[in-house]
Symmetry: D2
Subunit: 140 residues, 4 copies
């Protein structure tokens, strides 16, 4: 499963180099991840209401070319792997008009409860765990 999240670059996301500041891509990844979960019927807002949080354990980004104000970006997002306690996402950002690769990246997440204690999703939320599992790359 791969989702494509479309996103226009805002003016305030540029820096004095004239292009998108690199920290913003980490935010684009987050937006795209929320979008991915929505598309597989598992909203992150719903997660939090259920008592599941999914903090970022690590993130990495490689910048291929720069994006400018008003560019429309596409963030291709995949859930590469899920375990009972972790989830792994990957991202590829391209310029919609030219297809130019802008940025690639990945993030790892833990499943925690509201008290920041690790959750075993397979045991405590088997339905959600199943839904996530079926949307991973490995399930293809």
């Amino acid at each position: 499963m791969e989702t494509v999240y479309e996103r226009k670059v805002n003016y305030y996301e540029t820096d004095k180099m004239g292009v998108v500041h690199h920290a913003n891509y980490i935010k684009y990844f987050e937006e795209a991840r929320v979008y991915f979960l929505d598309k597989i019927g598992l909203s992150y807002k719903g997660f939090e209401e259920t008592g599941i949080i999914m903090p970022v354990l690590s993130v990495e980004a490689a910048y291929k070319s720069s994006a400018e104000f008003d560019d429309i970006l596409e963030v291709k997002t995949r859930l590469t792997r899920v375990t009972p306690v972790k989830a792994f996402f990957s991202y590829e950002i391209t310029d919609k008009k030219t297809g130019r690769k802008v940025c690639t990246g990945s993030s790892a997440h833990g499943f925690l409860n509201r008290d920041f204690k690790p959750l075993n999703m397979k045991k405590e939320f088997p339905e959600i765990f199943k839904g996530l599992g079926e949307s991973t790359d490995e399930a293809r």
Copy 2:
């Protein structure tokens, strides 16, 4: 009482115009407000631990000149007025080196409890209310 909060401009706070993006000054105001409370012995972190939050009801900023990456700014901050249910701050940002005026502004805040219900500070936190009152412009 006026406090002077010193703050270097970060690279990521600039935009493609080459100067600090205007939304950042609203953040500088917040930093300066927290600093002001610290200086009068009333930390905002302590407020929240006590069960007091102080959300912004309104904010305004007037931009006089632009600031650049690496500039050192001084945010002069005053608590212009306090009522049992509201507090009003004013700000003046200047460039430390040149004294050039960069931005002025003000913000109004309500006092709420953790459930976002209005607090009467005079009744429920008379000590803190007194401390704030003594630091206002009117108390001078």
Copy 3:
């Protein structure tokens, strides 16, 4: 002329109060302003390519209620007035689902050239000035 810009709240736009941090509304205003210009056929990107910048001279926001992660906001935007050297916008943000008023605000802008010198739009860019003028409240 009034445009309605739709915008989902991102996770990273919330703060520890659990709601959208107030500085973000200033960014939403900017997004909505760019959208307004697009809708009247005058892209802000095009402005900059032509050598026109439109820095913010002042901004104000009044917060009516809080917005949360994943809420869909509507930013109603109007160009209240244009002079040869300035433009004035107003904004009203509501929650799309409930219609609840979230935030109102306004901003004033100068017209400058690339060297940050004031432009007289009526003289130097009469076509654009006309287009802006026809989209103001006063033109209705």
Copy 4:
């Protein structure tokens, strides 16, 4: 050479989880990098005035524990390696009071001129290249 950059967490840097949003650490890295260059007598502002920019090629961060509003963080920063065309930094963020490890990370940078074309620092700016080289881990 290792520099220690001290940094208080701002309120607006937290998210609804109640802790610093992960994207902000990427910004802290940048602040710490600028601080490092200052300490070795090579300001990044000076770089840009000379015609050198140092965009991020890649960045990664691993989150060890969360930081909260008002915490004082220390960002230990090292220039791990420099080549004529690239520079590599590493970061370790700890809580100043407790010594708790919060985040580690690294970033890779290219040297470009104002037209975004690769620079050979050794040839074109030998003095600066020497200064950087003497501050790397390898030079110890």
